[in-house]
């Protein structure tokens, strides 16, 4: 039975064969997933990676960039979104005028 501190599911177990033929368990901390853009799934800058509990303790300005859709869309996707809205709005107005 492993020692109490190892009886946690947040540790990854890896079974390793030693030269002597024994198999030994190595415990590794699970890695937290990083923030991803909702559209292009690219990594988001200025958003910390780590356990949710720790991130929640940070001040809001350190949890996500100070931008519309900050922490949700990457800058490139946000720009494309705004441009497409502007263009569709622009076309909408051109139709009214013509």
């Amino acid at each position: 039975m492993p020692a109490p501190r190892y009886r946690s599911r947040s540790l990854k177990r890896r079974f390793i064969r030693t030269p002597g033929g024994r198999t030994v368990v190595h415990y590794k901390k699970k890695r937290h997933s990083y923030a991803k853009c909702a559209v292009c799934k690219g990594r988001l800058n200025a958003v910390p990676t780590g356990p949710r509990v720790e991130i929640r303790k940070l001040p809001k300005s350190m949890r996500r960039p100070n931008r519309p859709y900050g922490g949700y869309l990457c800058p490139k996707c946000l720009r494309e979104k705004i441009k497409s809205e502007v263009i569709s709005e622009g076309l909408h107005i051109l139709e009214i005028q013509s």
Partner: protein, 95 residues
Amino acid sequence: MAYLLGVGRVCVKTAGREAGRKCVIVKVIDKNYRLVTGPPELTGVRRRKCNIKHLEPLPYVLDIGEDASDEEVAKKLLEANILSEQDLVKKQVKP
């Protein structure tokens, strides 16, 4: 249809914390930069230098002079009634 980024051109900021907000070009600084203003109390975009890459032009041009003041731009912008409801900055009523 490439709109010219000249003085008086109304455009939308596509980057930075003011992304998605409408603003007016007040002065051409050089090839890459324009002086832009919202004005702040109207659309929340402060009077500042802005790279043209961060601007997306709209099909409107206000006839304002070079380096016009914020009040003048505000007046012309309201006259042209381009701004919709959600463009305007909500007045935060101090408790």
